[in-house]
Amino acid sequence: MARGLGTVIHRLPAWLSAVLVLGLTLGTLIAVATRAEIGRGLSPADWAAVRFTVAQALVSAVLSVVLAIPAARALARRQFRGRGLLITLLGAPFLLPVIVAILGLLAVFGRSGILNSGLAAIGLPQVSIYGFWGVVLAHVFFNLPLAVRLILQGWQAIPAERFRLVASLNGSVFRLLELPMLARAVPGAALVVFLICLTSFAVALTLGGGPRATTLELAIYQAIRFDFDLGRAALLACLQFALGLTAAFVAWRVTPILSMGRGMDRVVQRWDNGRVAVDVVALALVAVFLALPLLMVILRGVPGLIQLPEAVWDAAVRSIVVAVCSAILCVGMALSLALKGGMAVTVIGVLPLAASGLVMGTGLFILVYPFVSPSSVASPVTILVNATLALPFAMRAIGPAVADVQSNYGRLADSLGMGGWDRLRLLIVPRLRRPLGFAAGLAAALSMGDLGVITLFAGDAQETLPLAMYRLMGAYRMDAAAGAGLLLLALSLALFWICDQGARRDADA
């Protein structure tokens, strides 16, 4: 089936995308390794970091996915006012800069947070958020919404005709449709969450309560910044890649290959509505868990908005430009790779998630520095890196949809002699509007909140909004920083909403 499309759509973009991803992930790692002098190798503390990293990522992934299933099911089978808004808000935690999200979580679960104030008021002992479970709580807060969206896509991919068929046969929707769909969607969603948590650094450290909560990424940070031991950093980064690829292989092995087949895009009608109360509870719990910290971010940020210095608004404009460029690049790359298909593409889609941000930045710096001044290429480099980092999410959204279109419509299009640009314009893009919009929105919003590579490259004139926010915090201006955090949240959500809703218009009918 890949042959049909491959011959009609040029493969050059796919190759370029693949080269870019490999260069930014493995290439930067090699660049760091070549600068290494003989270091001290891995210590017992590093192995402890590996154990902690894997344990928290595994628990976070399982919990996120298990909690996401009832919420996704409720969203899939209920129509209610505010459903669209809720789905958009689901994107919010994932898009927040880490420190903003942590402060929001602490306003709810922290020592002086709502929860502990409530417990104290009724005479119960305090609970502490700090420790292993605090890290997991934060990771679930970040990733549960993403898991819901990814699993919801699985539900939406079941054609209306299938529900009709199962209803007419008096069969079980859960056993015949939902279970096979979940078997296909859940491993991928869990993998994505696992990989995100694998490279966690600030969340794990801040909420983990100390060196017990050392992750691999922190060990890499220490190796580069503290010891300037590039050899050890490269070794640790290899270890991180190995863990990521192992997880990807396991997820790939346990995912059955099946398609729900094609339908006529009718409105899904269901006869198995189940108990409304279950869905209400599932959605209410998720909404409260996600919305309360966000509400605190907003309340905390409003007074700071008027204190924002002009430079922050300039940084905001710069961030938007970078975000839009990254989104376009990212979606183009994801689409070209998804059209190519195959195991190699799957691996390429995983690599950026397992990459260490610091190694990537350092490697790029080593590669770029001999030729141009790093600050003069800060914006293009940020766009390339952000597009690549968002690629795994875009591919997760676009890949299965492309595979479905290929298997369901590929032969029809071939028989019509529809190829090249026409095929892309008339068949693929229209059928992929929803995942394309979601992917673009995600890529844009992720790029808004990113504070990775830019810290190594940015001069004064390339300051992005997250960087401006951190600089405000560094200058004691916590109120203004909270205002900048709110601005960042609003802009990220707006970008996400425009792409996501723009693409879903008419498609939801």
Binding site: A45, S112, P211, Y369, R471
Partner: protein, 327 residues
């Protein structure tokens, strides 16, 4: 957007025009120094008034990131001066062999004697735990460790204040540091990657005190007219952070670099420091310190390990810290 662009283009053209005639002095420093709220903009204006040159600051993360950046750039670095290392980093910085003697001879106003041919201080401060006025304050490290006050500290592996506390405990208790850390473990709410996160968490009410500087209350007092924050005075003395700058041996502007190093300890530079970097000036300006600084805690004893001692002890101290807190 279009106006922003055209202004940008115009500025770029002017800048290239200016480049042709005026020499450029590149100073690499940490991020918060160059931000709009840091000393950078005022220092740049003041120096350009006297130097007939273009002073360009480049921010590179925090202090530790600064050294890593320099090590990455190596001999090819365009920087003429590196500004913002502290004494815990100078031994490693000297080892790179990239620095040249600063050649400045002037009496500095530090609580300790200073004798370093390569690195010249531009400001300094005392580390301290900062808490809320009116609440019970610990009176020593030991007292803090045995009490039940909750504190937030920074990770010594990713933050300069975190490393400062490591050295503080080591300087106060050279032989019992591990034991002190073990006793402190139950007081530590959490460990953050950097100063900003820790201070933000403290202001949100997550702890009774946070590791910061004796000068932190001055910010709240002067900039926010808020006197609710105080630094806790500790009997063992307070460890110092001395921030230094160094001239690179490979500079293509040696005279300008020398001029900047001399300017750095002059009144024009030093009077900017207290209310932008919120640290003590290395050489007291003629006008003295701004109002509000007189209310700050003056520790009875200043602790500071030499840069060689600090470098030699670092790995052992870090392992003691890690082992005590990982339990």
């Amino acid at each position: 957007m279009r106006t922003t662009l055209s202004i940008g283009v115009a500025a770029a053209i002017c800048a290239t025009g200016a480049l042709a005639e005026t020499p450029v002095l590149n100073v690499m420093t940490y991020d918060s120094f160059v931000s709009d709220w840091g000393p950078g903009p005022a220092v740049e204006a003041a120096f350009e008034e006297v130097c007939a040159c273009d002073l360009v600051f480049t921010g590179a993360g925090d202090g530790a990131a600064l050294l890593a950046r320099l090590q990455l750039e190596g001999k090819g670095t365009e920087a003429d001066i590196v500004l913002g290392l502290d004494t815990n980093l100078t031994a490693a910085a000297r080892e790179t062999g990239l620095f040249a003697p600063h050649g400045v001879t002037t009496d500095l106003d530090l609580p300790v004697s200073w004798d370093d041919a390569d690195f010249l201080p531009f400001d300094w401060g005392y580390f301290a735990f900062v808490g809320n006025a009116g609440e019970e304050a610990a009176v020593s490290l030991r007292n803090l460790a045995t009490g039940d006050a909750k504190i937030i500290i920074q990770d010594p592996r990713s933050s300069t204040p975190g490393l400062g506390l490591l050295m503080w405990v080591k300087a106060a208790y050279p032989d019992d540091a591990a034991e002190v850390w073990a006793a402190l473990a139950d007081n530590i709410v959490t460990v953050t990657p950097g100063w900003s996160e820790a201070y933000g968490l403290f202001l949100e009410g997550e702890a009774d005190a946070v590791l910061s500087y004796t000068t932190s209350p001055a910010y709240h007092l002067i900039a926010e007219e808020d006197d609710s924050k105080i630094a806790w005075a500790f009997e063992e003395g307070h460890y110092m952070q001395v921030e230094v700058a160094g001239k690179l041996a490979g500079t293509d502007q040696p005279e300008l670099a020398d001029q900047f190093m001399a300017f750095m300890v002059s009144d024009a530079f030093q009077s900017i420091i207290p209310t932008t970097n919120w640290m003590y000036p290395a050489k007291l300006p003629g006008d003295g310190l701004p109002d509000g600084f007189d209310t700050l805690l003056t520790p009875a004893k200043a602790l500071l390990l030499s840069s060689d001692d600090a470098a030699a002890m670092r790995d052992v101290a870090l392992e003691e810290w890690r082992a005590a807190l990982a339990r």
